[in-house]
Point group: C2
Chain length 161, copies 2
Amino acid sequence: MNIIDESGILAISTRLQRLSEQLRKDGALVYKSYGIDFEPKWFPVIYTLYHKDTLSVVEIANEIGYTHPSTISLLKELEKQKLIRSKKDKIDERKRLIQLTPKGQEMIEEMKPVWEVMKNALTEITNNQNNLLKAIEEAENKILHQSFLQRALQLKSEGEE
Amino acid sequence: MNIIDESGILAISTRLQRLSEQLRKDGALVYKSYGIDFEPKWFPVIYTLYHKDTLSVVEIANEIGYTHPSTISLLKELEKQKLIRSKKDKIDERKRLIQLTPKGQEMIEEMKPVWEVMKNALTEITNNQNNLLKAIEEAENKILHQSFLQRALQLKSEGEE
DNA sequence: CAAAACTACGTAGTTAAATACATAAATAAA
DNA sequence: TTTATTTATGTATTTAACTACGTAGTTTTG
């Protein structure tokens, strides 16, 4: 084992990122193997629109947990692919309402069996003695209650007493 | 809960990344709160050199699991901070051997109590019913044995029978 | 109801990683 | 011992996220 993996919890951020990147990369290849022209990074937007039908830019950003500029650049790509379209909100002229196109909806139908396969493969990988998805949820909840920074500062001040 | 978190395992890559980013960002603030001028992204390199003393660029890259160009850019920053130095290998003239400077070693001593606090805070966050670090290790092992792509392709071909 | 504050969206620039490509030194093979 | 292959390093470019900032509507307040 290398030093970083041995360092344990201190390098957890690096390892989360590495694992995420591996899965994303393979995900792209899975879509390709089905002959589907779809990038994994589009998934959060598409999946959200599939369930919520019509949303503004900021609403999508909040749903997927990205900033709005990041969301805008994803939306631009998806619009280029003609998977989504947008129109101005009649009531609030600042808002741009986003929807799937028929082509987008068709592609979702095509992707459903792929998602099923991915779900099974990911379950194989992540469902061990410690379930990765649940572990993430539990950690997210802990942070929600008190952030890493807050906890560290508290431990620091306790140590200084 | 938002749609993405509800989608479960399919969005696991996004969620790993998000969690990693949160921890990295707070990590930076923890160093700052101790008045230490250190970026979390430098940790893997510094920690590796602390344990291995002298390594070449590619050896460091392998240890920390980054590509060598990424590693080179980290090394450039660390050299600018005067935390590391490098000299040509006498035997193999292609190699650049990297070491901590005395300043780098001093900084490590300064950081040790910070790492201790971080370790405790991270343990609080990640040690739940499902231990996040162990969950990552288990998932990494699964992938090592058979990648996400390989598993997906196999499940696909089984479905086509 | 005019001014102030807030919200939605967009652009520009930054960051931290990657890939692709190039070169030079070392090693292996013909 | 040339030639071919591999290895080590470096540079340029790309990618996918971010922050900072600006503008134009909307809402709240004095």
